[in-house]
Symmetry: C2
Subunit: 192 residues, 2 copies
DNA sequence: CGCGACATGTAAGCAGTTACATGATTAT
DNA sequence: ATAATCATGTAACTGCTTACATGTCGCG
């Protein structure tokens, strides 16, 4: 994956200097819709980036003794990030998806169980979609193309679209399996 | 990922006994839209499955000396596969996506370059979509829910939906960045 | 005083990619 | 002949997850 985490970290630091803990929160919070990482991956990566001279840090004390390393981009780090950001990369291979792998073998499932599994998956994706739509509604108006909120807004919209597509597909699966084989080009949006 | 490759292999073998090479072709061919694996991962996994008693094989000779190990499911293998197939699993975390990670930092890109990168990505996804639609059109009519073609048809439809959503999102990104901030609930399907 | 959030790290192991390594068969 | 495809394996490395390990701070 050619060190994607490295650039996720550099990118976040380019917006604001922060600690490993803060990065960990970001990568299991807002960004989590398209990139995630645990602290056990972040701390070693920060150490490495520091050794590579792409970031540096100063130790702050919260309270009396609790140490907090606040990382910031070096010039080299910012240059490296911007080079990556503007690079043209090949299209990624389609994402792996265990649920779809199982659906590939759908004909070997017991019909009732199959229906339940799909219905359950649909419920979970609808919940995720509702949560994403809620977050998206917090943007009253699209941000300026130069504002840091732009990326947030764009990827959030992408995540909503992705979940809509999942929900549509799962709804369609249910109708196909009910024998009511409907036109595949149906609108289907009432299911979302 | 709790040994997804194991079940991909068991599932394929439940449809038809075949060699590691055949599995390798399947996992870099038809199934590739939602699961993939290289031969360097498949051969060791087959060895392990054999040791676990979930598959067995017989050596066939193609031509004069070329050996070909044809694997088939054992009873234990079939039972293990069916148990997995009917298991209710948690929803997967959202798939990682490097392009979207980059778009999260879109405000730091040079506007023209940004436009080019998105337009290029859109072209690639449109190509993938066209290829998937072509494959899907080979199904004149939806397969019977008990036929082995069912899974194929279902996941192919899901892949089409996924790519449509990607194309719609990328088109939308272009219009947003052009300053012509349009309603986010627009149909947008003329872009796909 | 206890709980949840803040804060930082390491270790073991699994999954997956790229590269190394070899050789036979078939079609042009 | 030679290139593409068939066929099977191993080694080294990267990325990621789960678990181990420790301790502070602020609030109720």
């Amino acid at each position: 994956m050619v060190r994607a985490l490295k650039y996720a970290i550099l990118g976040l630091l380019s917006q604001e200097s922060c600690s490993g803990y803060d990065l960990s929160m970001a990568l299991s919070g807002a960004l989590q819709e398209f990139w995630s990482a645990n602290h056990s991956q972040i701390y070693p990566e920060l150490k490495r980036l520091s050794e590579e001279g792409l970031v540096d840090y100063q130790v702050e004390i919260s309270g009396n003794v609790l140490e907090r390393k606040v990382y910031s981009l070096t010039e080299a780090g910012r240059a490296d990030f911007l080079e990556w950001l503007h690079r043209e990369e090949d299209i990624a291979s389609p994402p792996k998806d265990v649920f779809r792998l199982r659906m590939f073998f759908a004909n070997e499932m017991e019909p009732e169980r199959r229906r339940d599994l799909i219905a359950h998956e649909l419920t979970l994706h609808r919940e995720r979609l509702a949560r994403l739509r809620g977050k998206r509604e917090q943007f009253a108006v699209p941000p300026e193309p130069s504002s840091p909120a732009l990326g947030d807004y764009m990827v959030l919209t992408g995540a909503v679209r992705r979940e809509e597509a999942s929900c549509e597909w799962l709804s369609w699966c249910l109708t196909v399996l009910d024998g009511a084989a409907t036109d595949t080009e149906e609108k289907g949006n009432e299911n979302v």
